[in-house]
Symmetry: C2
Subunit: 146 residues, 2 copies
DNA sequence: CAAAGTAGTCAGAGAATCTGACCAATGTCA
DNA sequence: TGACATTGGTCAGATTCTCTGACTACTTTG
């Protein structure tokens, strides 16, 4: 099913994304953050600095709010997040990252920086800059929350 | 958890990838190819022109061979693939795309071309070329099967 | 204020994934 | 050549992830 000669842009985007994600997971596990799953991480990643509503997490992760709730429950039990009332809406609660989550983010950010350096080494500073520029532009038409 | 000002390269790669995948799925469903799941598609996508072994599909999709077998079973029942003996190894079988799969690929390829045109319209020909170039280069260090 | 919409939960089912154990065929090398 | 390790794949069972449908509580809108 794969085109023989030339990969489509989709796969070309996916490959480095997955490579980076793998690196991050490995590093987190090494650092002792091995009590959450990829699905949980994909939700946790989207929590904003001041907390984010469940519904918004669900939308951005493109899962149902029920699924998001299920995953946040587990993150809460593992101590990665807490839920606090949303002062602006009594129906809602804000999912906030706990200290443990921010510590994990430190590790993850380190890996990202390291991998980005490796990529820049391979592409050259110029091409790396062009890549980020093109991707940032692309985001304007591919990210509904941009 | 998300960086406030600037997204990391990982998310920047993921966003357009997901947008493209969404478009492809929607178009396939419209065209009547609605009897397979995303997980099945991710495996099917990796079948080579002459068939591919289960183990290799599993590796490339980064799932266990048991899971791959489970998904291929379903694709076989839906008529997307067949399994034929591997002439070079009596243990192995080759998973081959059936006519229905190649028809679906036609549709998918059409969408990819369309989306790539849209992206090029947004980025300009020059930047689009740079993007593909950088991604192709990046593949060298991020794709274990390159 | 009534109606419609939004945030979230509960219940139940289906899909996707894993680990462990296993068999048959192939490869290795003393 | 023959024992041993490796590889391709399956079976069984459990866990995790995800969905649909139905529901409550609160908010927004006309």
């Amino acid at each position: 099913m794969v085109a023989e000669s030339e990969l489509n842009t989709g796969l070309l985007l996916f490959l480095p994304y997955r490579a980076l994600e793998n690196r991050i997971f490995a590093a987190l596990a090494d650092a002792g953050f091995d009590d959450f799953t990829p699905a949980q991480a994909r939700v946790m990643q989207r929590i904003g600095p001041d907390g984010t509503r469940l519904t918004e997490l669900a939308e951005q992760a493109q899962i149902t709010k029920q699924t998001a709730g299920f995953l946040v429950d587990q993150l809460e039990k593992s101590g990665y997040v807490t839920r606090v009332p949303d002062p602006t809406d009594k129906r809602a609660r804000l999912v906030r990252g706990a200290a443990k989550a921010w510590a994990a983010k430190e590790v993850a950010d380190g890996v990202v920086a390291e991998v980005e350096r490796e990529w820049e080494d391979h592409l050259g500073r110029r091409r790396m800059k062009q890549l980020r520029e093109a991707l940032a532009l692309l985001r304007e038409i591919t990210d509904p929350w941009a």
